[in-house]
């Protein structure tokens, strides 16, 4: 979405914490370890104005009928639950439903409008929706998207309407392009002003004079585009009329709306019907404020093209509509960045000259990419907003389309928050695009039900990258700290961000092959520096001698208000979102700085001991106070192996053919590793030569379950004490029943005694949080008539029948 819609940073929560924890901040600055927080202040000494409450998010139209269900999906991007007031109004601006809902921390919450209407006893079929978060949160935390599900065919079709927040820092104009529609789109114009306003509406290329439309205070005017005929809910069932309309020729419509009120006093959204009643599709008509555009280039990130397992069907080549709102011909260039083969390849694939006040549509048939790693940039001469583009792809032979929101190439948002789902066959793919000519680092955080996964992705210049959330969960992909998401997680919220605005773009697409679902969420976030936290607990407090790692992090706190002089509630309009971090590392005999940027510092341990790190962040006229952190460099020597000692069967248990082994680690210098974790995994498949088909004892070729020991601490139910660098006990061997079973049945099934079973065990140790495989062992046992021979590598012990 273009910048006239404000999007917010999840990091805003830190501003709230910073405000509430101010006394502790002062003490944190003198504390050498752990996270600290600081508020930003004006470096010019300008007093901060009073905080400005966030403006409401607006969706101009919803439809709720027997055939159309509307719901909103609200994403809470912060680590506290946030109350939001959802208000439904009719066209006259009267409230027809209202509810305060608590949205859990880092969550994605669907809200059915049908339920809200029923709770209010309303019979309304349409209206507008606003979402206003709790005023106690001085910065924005909630983002939302409205979805209309159309149930006219065998499968539901979705219309996505992203909530917007009009801003006074743009113009009084909104422009929108409807591409290749069979019917005149309907346009909903919603006032967020307490006074009536008059909208002057026109269509590019139309000879008719512009029309005026009266919009009541907080009300919504619904009009047919270009004819400007009003559609009123009282006299006409809006949804029914929409479904009964159907044209035969696909036309383009470039619309301009201008208010006589102040900039930001209204917001608009439209849609058009395509397909017949059995396969009806609603196409979105998004509006943009040309006064908020920073460039004359538009970017479409991750356009679905061709066939891909991530797509519900084969998609056509992209269809591009260009509308020229100016009185001069405009030259337009289409650039295609194809990342499907790994390294991105950038091609110029088309050049157009668009005559004044006209539209033109072309199919970009020369695009041969497939999947989602396709990004298009449409650049034109002239002023920002002169050329407005609309791009879509057709889904199979149906009327369904994959519709994407355009992004300004110089969009200074530097992040996004989106809902995700893997339930019922949904596939959620986060798409990121590096719009710069340099490699760029993106931070991605996937959250849900209290779990969180954080990873950094380095994208090449102009690369489009897909992060498949289903894979992250199903394959238990570790994040940068080794944490994985639980496989039971099926929905949540994902955030992405870069360090600077106008350098990266992103969105999420949710597909489902079973239901032909293809939905996009593009909510962007918009940052300003209000403060910063330092030394996140996502980073290790301990550093290994000789090891280089991203150590201290600084998380800037961005907030959004409309005063150019504020640091506690800073401005965003027309300013870059960049910030600069100044690091200080006084203990260079303990750690040396390998690298630093605005987000983090990479340190390398060069000696044992504690060290301190300090930093402050600065953006524009705002800077934080210096913040201090630090940690310890410890010497952590990896073991070179271990030796095992057999302690016999555990007398307190009833698996008396199982040998308890205690291991002693070989550590250079006899450094104590007590307290560190040691984990076993199954290595390559082993062999179970005792098993025969039909046996009631399942074949054992892996460790029955991985286990983690703490070095120096006996595993429960085994030995009572361990010496330095000893670990165990580890039970190796069969149960009594298995032993007796194969002693009795093995030879009758063509086998012989002794019969053997072996599994491969891989041992890794965690020292300072880093895994290191120090040994690969074979655990084996052979069952004979007289007993069992249990072995850990070459250390063996016989347990006779008893």
């Amino acid at each position: 979405m273009f910048p006239f819609v404000r999007r917010y940073s999840s990091r805003y929560i830190v501003a709230i914490l910073a405000a509430t924890l101010l006394p502790s901040i002062l003490s944190a600055q003198s504390t050498p370890r752990g996270p600290s927080t600081a508020l930003a202040h004006s470096i010019y000494g300008t007093p901060d104005p009073a905080p400005v409450a966030p403006m409401p998010l607006v969706a101009p139209v919803f439809l709720q009928t027997d055939q159309i269900d509307s719901s909103i999906t609200v994403v809470n991007s912060i680590t506290l639950a946030v109350n939001g007031t959802v208000t439904l109004r009719n066209q006259a601006g009267e409230v027809i439903g209202q509810q305060i809902i608590s949205f859990p921390a880092h969550s994605s919450t669907p809200v059915a409008l049908k339920t809200l209407l029923a709770a209010a006893g309303s019979q309304a079929h349409s209206g507008s929706v606003t979402l206003l978060q709790d005023a106690a949160f001085k910065g924005p935390a909630l983002l939302a998207q409205l979805s209309m599900a159309l149930h006219t065919g065998s499968q539901s079709a979705f219309l996505e309407e992203e909530f917007g927040m009009p801003t006074p820092h743009g113009s009084a104009v909104l422009r929108g392009v409807a591409s290749q529609t069979r019917n005149l789109p309907l346009v909903a114009i919603t006032s967020i002003s307490e006074a009536p306003q008059t909208i002057t509406a026109s269509c590019v290329g139309e000879s008719a004079s512009p029309s005026t439309i009266e919009v009541p205070a907080y009300g919504t005017a619904v009009v047919q585009a270009c004819s400007w005929q009003a559609v009123t809910d009282g006299s006409l069932n809006l949804a029914s009329s929409l479904l009964n309309a159907n044209g035969s020729i696909e036309l383009d419509h470039a619309i301009s709306l201008k208010t006589d009120s102040v900039p930001g006093a209204f917001y608009a959204f439209g849609f058009a019907l395509n397909g017949d009643l059995n396969q009806a599709q609603l196409q979105p008509l998004d509006f943009y404020d040309p006064g908020t555009l920073a460039s004359s280039s538009t970017v479409y990130v991750g356009v679905p093209v061709g066939a891909s397992p991530l797509l519900p069907a084969v998609l056509s080549a992209p269809v591009l509509t260009l509308a020229n709102y100016s009185n001069q011909p405009r030259q337009t260039t289409v650039t295609f960045s194809d990342s499907s083969s790994g390294s991105p390849k950038v091609h110029t694939i088309a050049n157009f000259i668009v005559p004044p006040f006209s539209t033109q549509t072309d199919t970009l048939a020369q695009v041969v990419g497939s999947g989602l790693l396709n990004t298009f940039t449409i650049a034109s001469d002239g002023q920002p907003g002169d050329i407005q583009a609309h791009l879509f792809t057709r889904v199979g032979s149906s009327a369904q389309r994959a519709e994407l929101l355009a992004k300004d190439a110089r969009d200074d948002h530097n992040g996004g928050n989106h809902p995700w789902s893997t339930a019922n066959g949904d596939i959620s793919t986060l798409l990121l695009y590096n719009s710069t000519a340099q490699p760029k680092q993106f931070q991605v955080r996937i959250s849900g039900s209290g779990s969180s996964w954080l990873q950094l992705f380095r994208l090449a210049a102009f690369e489009t990258r897909a992060v498949l959330i289903n894979d992250v969960i199903a394959k238990r992909t570790p994040d940068y700290k080794g944490k994985t998401l639980p496989v039971s997680l099926t929905a949540g919220e994902v955030q992405w961000s870069t360090d600077f605005g106008a350098t990266g773009l992103g969105r999420i697409v949710i597909t489902n092959a079973n239901t032909a679902l293809l939905r996009n969420f593009s909510c962007a976030t918009y940052y300003n520096l209000c403060g910063a936290t330092f030394g996140s607990d996502n980073y290790e407090d301990m550093l290994l001698d000789g090891q280089a790692t991203n150590y201290e992090s600084i998380n800037p706190v961005f907030c959004t208000v409309y005063s150019p002089t504020s640091c506690s509630q800073a401005t965003t309009s027309g300013q870059t979102e960049s910030f600069t971090t100044y690091w200080q590392n006084p203990d260079t005999n303990i750690v040396q700085t390998v690298y630093s940027n605005n987000s983090y510092i990479t340190l390398q341990g060069v000696g044992s001991g504690t060290f301190g790190i300090s930093a402050y962040a600065e953006a524009g006229s705002c800077a934080t106070s210096p913040m201090s952190g630090g940690g310890t460099v410890m010497s952590c020597t990896d073991p070179t192996g271990d030796s095992a000692q057999a302690y016999g069967a555990n007398p307190t248990q009833n698996y008396t053919y199982t040998e308890e082994f205690i291991m002693t680690l070989s550590v250079p210098g006899n450094v104590s590793l007590n307290g560190e974790n040691l984990q076993e995994q199954s290595g390559s498949p082993g062999q179970d030569a005792c098993y025969f088909s039909g046996s009631t004892y399942t074949p054992q070729t892996t460790i029955t379950s991985p286990y983690t020991w703490t070095i120096g601490t006996p595993a429960p139910g085994t030995v009572t004490s361990l010496q330095t660098n000893q670990w165990g006990a580890d039970a190796v061997g069969p149960s009594d029943q298995i032993t007796k079973y194969y002693q009795y049945n093995e030879r009758s099934h063509g086998g012989s005694l002794p019969c053997g079973i072996s599994v491969n065990q891989s041992l890794q140790i965690y020292c300072g949080g880093q895994p290191y495989i120090y040994a690969n062992n074979t655990l084996s046992y052979s069952i004979n008539i007289g007993g069992v021979y249990d072995c850990r590598n070459s250390t063996c012990s016989t347990i006779l029948n008893h």
Binding site: N424, Q681, Q737
Partner: protein, 279 residues
């Protein structure tokens, strides 16, 4: 289909002659991808317990958490001798195993891989198709909390070939002590109570001893089915553990086996390890 008929004939002859069946079973179930449509797959098993073999495949390759329970097979219609001829010639006793063989189920990859409702739809359809074969037992699907399913034997054929229903062993209600104890102790207590309630001997098979004895478990105070109690004990370990409860017709006992579900992965360095699934 001809092969199945041929194998069945051999089994019938072998059983009727009182001689050991010489059946070549598959080591594990396999997935066959259709040459014409890569989305169409066939899951194929060849084992005395074909559904148990398919269960292992679904757990390892398709992200399921699926448990398996034999019905108490009792008739010659569903059992076959498994010892060698040489063993019998030496005067050794026969040993009976379920007389299953080949079984296959066709599906789309997307259906099998899906979770949630589709998973249940697929498993239900699989059990319906299994019931139409001559393989032993009749099974039902039981949904457990947190995405766990159980394939439970609900009936078996009698000597006349007619289905006879049975009470699933884990359907008995038991009440475990609510005090904190190790998961291993809780498992022993569950087995003990289940033996008392059912009158059937239950033996412990392959178990993750290290994990069970270090996991602290506290049972609910109210009586629950043994199936729910067992799932709760296993979930307490935080590991994805599945059970197979296999019936031994020779001494009319059950054997409880537990194993991690997961799959093999090859690391960047080429080493192979088994990636178990956590809960």
């Amino acid at each position: 289909m001809h092969f199945i008929t041929f194998v069945s004939l051999i089994l019938i002859l072998a059983t009727s002659n009182g001689q050991a069946a010489q059946h070549r079973y598959a080591k594990e179930a396999t997935v066959i991808v259709s040459t014409g449509d890569s989305n169409q797959i066939v899951l194929r098993a060849n084992d005395p317990r074909p559904l148990d073999q398919i269960t292992l495949l679904l757990n390892s390759s398709y992200n399921y958490l699926l448990d398996y329970e034999d019905p108490p097979y009792m008739s010659k219609n569903e059992l076959t001798g498994s010892v060698t001829k040489e063993w019998l010639a030496q005067g050794g006793a026969e040993y009976y195993v379920p007389n299953g063989g080949e079984y296959e189920v066709q599906s789309s990859r997307s259906e099998v891989m899906s979770d949630g409702p589709n998973e249940k739809v697929f498993l239900t359809r699989m059990l319906e198709s299994y019931a139409r074969t001559s393989n032993p037992g009749f099974f039902e699907l039981i949904s457990e909390p947190r995405g766990r399913f159980s394939i439970v034997g609900k009936a078996m054929r009698n000597d006349s070939g007619y289905p006879v229903s049975s009470t699933p062993l884990l359907g008995y209600s038991v009440r475990l002590g609510s005090e904190k104890q190790s998961a291993y102790s809780a498992l022993l207590e569950l087995v003990s109570q289940l033996q008392s309630a059912s009158g059937i001997t239950i033996k412990l098979g392959t178990l993750p001893y290290n994990l069970l004895r270090s996991t602290i478990y506290s049972a609910a105070t109210k009586p629950e089915s043994a199936r729910i109690q067992l799932a709760a004990i296993l979930d307490a370990t935080k590991e994805g553990l599945a059970w197979s409860l296999l019936y031994d017709a020779n001494d009319r006992s059950y054997v409880l086996n537990l194993a991690s579900v997961g799959h093999y992965q090859t690391s960047e360095t080429g080493s192979i390890h088994f990636a178990s699934r956590q809960r």
